[in-house]
Symmetry: C2
Subunit: 433 residues, 2 copies
């Protein structure tokens, strides 16, 4: 049988896997330093529950199947709804706010022509049971710190507000149908289409919304909105947004965070602040999120909440593009033997106990073969990652070790070999090389 996998899926081979794990660890480190605890949920759940507030597009993109109980289930397309469900189901009695993070696989069915991944890994957080500028600021600042902490030097986080957008549309006389259509066009950044749609309501609607979705930058963007949005709830939300931005500035993030009222996200559940992080050279956002104050109520556990998610493949790619390279993982010391492996096995055990990796050859080898072998032996673990096509990295292999049947150690370098008194001496020699 031809070995192949369905499109939009991929294997992650060892060198890339090591990079990806290091990346995930850095994200975790940042989340934990803000007091967030990890949560994991099942890869598939009831379709109806996942689709509840996901919006039409995401609902269409779910992989669905019927389980042996005859229930329609789906691979999760994102983590916010499953975590909201888990909190409502199992953590309602916990003290609020809840700070949760995840590093999980999500799945989206995609038409073949788009050439997109259908399974990808997301790292993100949910902050549940809190609202207001301090909570919004925490989510945005944590997104920024996760990205910097991951090693991404250049990025920009835009923050908008779907609540203000909805209030503005209402104020301008848009009905629910128009509002939905406008949100979809705004999400797709289709400003021409958005203009045409609003023209149907009134020229003022077109002008006001046009000015709103183009308002971006510092506090002046809020002033633009204040001039368009009427007194009342909309203005109150703008005041909160101004305070959120002020706190972000005070935290030292004015260079990384920008107000952008053109940002509208395509999950139905967003109600307030929304965010998108971009990095040069990558068209799609590297992280997205927002506030979803009504989602938990759907599960009988009304509480405000906000969060974000970043795609780890994309983040890895962006970091590699910006030139930051993971150091290649240190390869295992290759331990060879000729007549009988017992002594070599014992030496390898001691090397491992000392905290260093060792592999014993699985057949007899002479010193000669060992001399040619070691520098390539673990090159096996190279694999095309984001750096594919730019020359494969190889693991660093320092040297090899030959162990005689009597247990004598011979360190085998590329040009010469020399005896070593014991494992302690060996490790010292390898340190200094």
């Amino acid at each position: 049988m031809q070995p192949s996998i369905p499109r939009g899926l991929r294997d992650v081979l060892p060198l890339e896997a090591a990079d990806r794990r290091a990346l995930a660890e850095r994200c975790r480190g940042t989340f934990e330093s803000w007091g967030y605890g990890q949560i994991s949920t099942p890869s598939f759940e009831y379709f109806d529950l996942l689709a509840l507030e996901a919006g039409e597009e995401i609902s269409r993109e779910m992989f669905r199947f019927v389980d042996s109980d005859g229930r329609l289930v789906a691979l999760r397309p994102e983590m916010t709804t499953p975590i909201a469900r888990a909190v409502a189901q199992r953590m309602q009695s916990e003290r609020l706010p809840l700070r949760l993070f995840y590093v999980e696989k999500v799945f989206r069915e995609q038409p073949a022509r788009l050439g997109e991944q259908r399974e990808f890994e997301q790292a993100g957080v949910e902050l549940l049971g809190a609202r207001g500028p301090a909570a919004d600021m925490e989510v945005v600042a944590l997104a920024a710190e996760m990205l910097s902490g991951a090693g991404l030097a250049e990025f920009q986080i835009g923050i908008g507000h779907v609540g203000v957008f909805r209030i503005l549309l209402e104020q301008l006389g848009a009905d629910t149908k128009h509002r939905r259509a406008a949100e979809e066009l705004a999400t797709a950044r289709n400003l021409v289409g958005l203009g045409r749609l609003l023209e149907q309501i009134s020229p003022e609607a077109r002008n006001s919304v046009g000015a709103a979705v183009n308002a971006r930058g510092g506090p002046e963007a809020i002033e633009t909105l204040r001039a368009i949005v009427e007194e009342g709830e909309g203005r109150r939300l703008l005041d909160e947004m101004a305070e959120t931005y002020r706190l972000l500035e005070a935290y030292g993030l004015s260079g990384k965070v920008m107000l952008d009222f053109g940002i509208i996200r395509n999950f139905d559940y967003y109600t307030g602040l929304v965010l998108e992080a971009y990095t040069p050279g990558l068209g799609a956002p590297i992280a997205t999120g927002g506030r979803y104050d009504d989602l938990l109520a759907e599960f009988g556990a009304a509480m405000p909440a906000a969060g974000f998610a970043a795609g780890l493949e994309r983040l890895h790619l962006a970091i590699a593009k910006q030139g930051a390279k993971e150091p290649a993982p240190e390869a295992a010391l290759l331990v060879g033997w000729e007549a009988e492996p017992t002594a070599a096995l014992r030496v390898a055990k001691q090397i491992r106990a000392a905290g260093r990796a060792a592999s014993v050859t699985l057949e007899p080898v002479g010193v000669d073969r060992l001399r040619q072998g070691p520098r390539e032996e673990l090159g096996q673990q190279a694999g095309p990652g984001p750096e594919q096509g730019r020359g494969r990295r190889r693991q660093r292999v320092a040297a090899a070790l030959f162990v005689t049947s009597e247990g004598r150690l011979i360190l085998v370098g590329p040009e010469e070999e020399r005896p070593v008194a014991g494992v302690a001496e060996l490790l010292k020699e390898l340190e200094t090389e």
Copy 2:
């Protein structure tokens, strides 16, 4: 909507998630110390490929669905076939042997009455491109070191040989149908059924196979088999098995590894040594594996291979049962503020930069509320894990910190509060507490 998930699936809440991550890290550490590199494959693949050598039972247990290209795919029920496929597809040109490990989710549809998990996490290895006693020994020894390294004190690994079992059945005149039936009965440890089946062939068949599947212990078990198995390939395999066991003894594992020719595994792809690890108080094996020398040839990349997988949920449970407890993760320092959070946010940033976790309150709090709050604040992150029902663990929360608008720090203990000069002093105080 009632928040619920399909049976056989579960959420992993923060304290358990932290334990599980620590456990997975220890497994990874052991794998890497033996020179293994991580591999990850897609959660679903073509059904036909996954079913190729999985055996009838596992094939029945796969979650199947049709993707948007009209292809029948399935959630992977195990990792050996996907990794064999990935090696054939993408790593054929790499130098052998290949040492690969994984920590991945796998999926099995189960009848409701069994009450079993339908998604679980496996940690395991595949050693590809090598055969013989040194290779077999490496797989078994690594399984033992992974289990000890994970913190499991009491366990026993049994090793058998499906190749010897098949040769014996052939020698006794069993046809393919009988052989398959016998393997299934042996896998299920249904010795009465096995005896009845073999009786149909001959009383000698019943007696010989009965003696073989009951042969266990040290080298004497091999002598038992040698007396039953005829000269030829079967005897050669027994010699190899004796050498494998000798190497395991020499490595210091005679107390952990036992020969057991009654072990037969229910994947069709096994061809040689098979292993099962058991731990007291857990009926099902905690790790299983074996040699599958013919699987890669199915993908046009003939090479010998062997590996094992351990279930992380089960391993976590077994470690908890044996009394080893993860230390509860250190909770974040709670930082409160009253008038305005800017100063508190800056202090939290400094605390994080110093490598300690901090959460800022998301609304104004007085010192009084902070004094009552901190010890419980992060109790939120407790969750039922394997220790469910034996009292929840809580995160340790040392103290809370109040930051005045002018940036003065007040350390708030359960009974008293005292000013601290700065973040450096604060961290020193917390260290010594």
